[in-house]
């Protein structure tokens, strides 16, 4: 069975990225792993406080609700949900693709402006460093929505 890892963030672009990925999954008759790397901030979760800090659990529940809602828009595509915390989402995406033995990664890109030219983008790093085929979806934002990716 062909497997594709669909990496989304919490931005308004995620539905468009998932739609493109779902079309590809149908064409490939593929099993999809819908993936979200939660950018864990050490400022919010001090070491040893994970058990009492409600923030990580809240963020994970919110992310799971988002992925569940996305998966529901393509009921004919078999989707497994996967959420992980990471300080560097691009590393987490590459590791997840290895872990699930994905044949392909699908990821969204917000373009290449300002600091991105120096620091690079998550999509650019994944496409650059992956030894898998990578489908980079340049999804435009719906009108009136923000480009930021809330946790």
């Amino acid at each position: 069975m062909t497997k594709i890892l669909i990496a989304v963030d919490g931005s308004a672009r995620a539905p468009g990225v998932f739609r493109a990925a779902a079309n590809l999954a149908r064409a490939m008759n593929a099993h999809a792993v819908l993936y979200r790397a939660l950018e864990a901030s050490p400022d919010f979760t001090p070491p040893g406080a994970a058990g009492i800090d409600p923030l990580p659990a809240y963020l994970e529940a919110k992310a799971r609700a988002q992925l569940t809602s996305l998966a529901a828009t393509a009921p004919d595509v078999h989707c497994e949900l996967r959420i992980e915390e990471s300080l560097q989402p691009w590393r987490a995406i590459l590791a997840a693709a290895d872990a699930v033995r994905a044949d392909m990664i699908v990821i969204g890109s917000h373009g290449y402006h300002g600091w991105d030219r120096i620091l690079g983008t998550t999509a650019g790093k994944v496409a650059n460093l992956s030894h898998r085929s990578v489908f980079v979806v340049h999804e435009r934002l719906p009108e009136g929505t923000s480009g930021t990716a809330p946790q």
């Binding site: 493109a20 650019g124 496409a127 085929s133 489908f135």
Partner: protein, 157 residues
């Protein structure tokens, strides 16, 4: 809109283009799309030393590239007749992005050379620049990856 109705495939006559062409054909069949091959002839290596070195006539080189591109297109048309090609002069990334825009392509399938580390840093990567700057979805195809199988039957669109 479903991508892969019109796929742009940059070619450089190297090994990396073959997996990209194969995947583009499979996608074009699946989505009943069209394929445009693009080859960028970059004259800058031949003109950069112009004040110091004798001028090199690039026209025979361009004619040779046109012949090579025609061969690739003929082989492609055997697999998928709805295909054409274009050769332009300029920096590869600029040529590819312009060709995609002018031909109304909705996606690109780009072969990568799989260079890592220092080689990638020194040589740069046309594929990487395209991924960053393209306004349409880009599928990068790694040379060591086995072909991605596509389901048979009706279009997935």
């Amino acid at each position: 809109m479903t991508p892969f109705q019109h796929i742009l495939v940059p070619v450089d006559f190297g090994d990396a283009m073959h997996p990209a062409i194969d995947l583009a054909v499979a996608l074009a069949r699946k989505f009943e799309g069209q394929i445009t091959l693009v080859y960028a002839f970059d004259p800058s290596p031949f003109t950069a030393m112009a004040p110091l070195a004798p001028q090199i006539d690039v026209e025979p080189l361009i004619a040779s590239a046109e012949t090579e591109l025609k061969k690739v297109l003929e082989q492609l048309r055997v697999q998928w007749p709805k295909s054409d090609s274009v050769l332009r002069r300029g920096l590869p990334c600029d040529v590819i992005l312009q060709a995609g825009k002018q031909h109304g392509c909705d996606s690109m399938v780009v072969g990568t050379h799989g260079r890592r580390g220092v080689a990638r840093f020194l040589l740069g990567s046309v594929a990487e620049k395209i991924v960053r700057l393209s306004p349409v979805p880009v599928l990068t195809v790694h040379p060591l990856v086995p072909p991605v199988p596509l389901a048979h039957g009706a279009s997935a669109a």
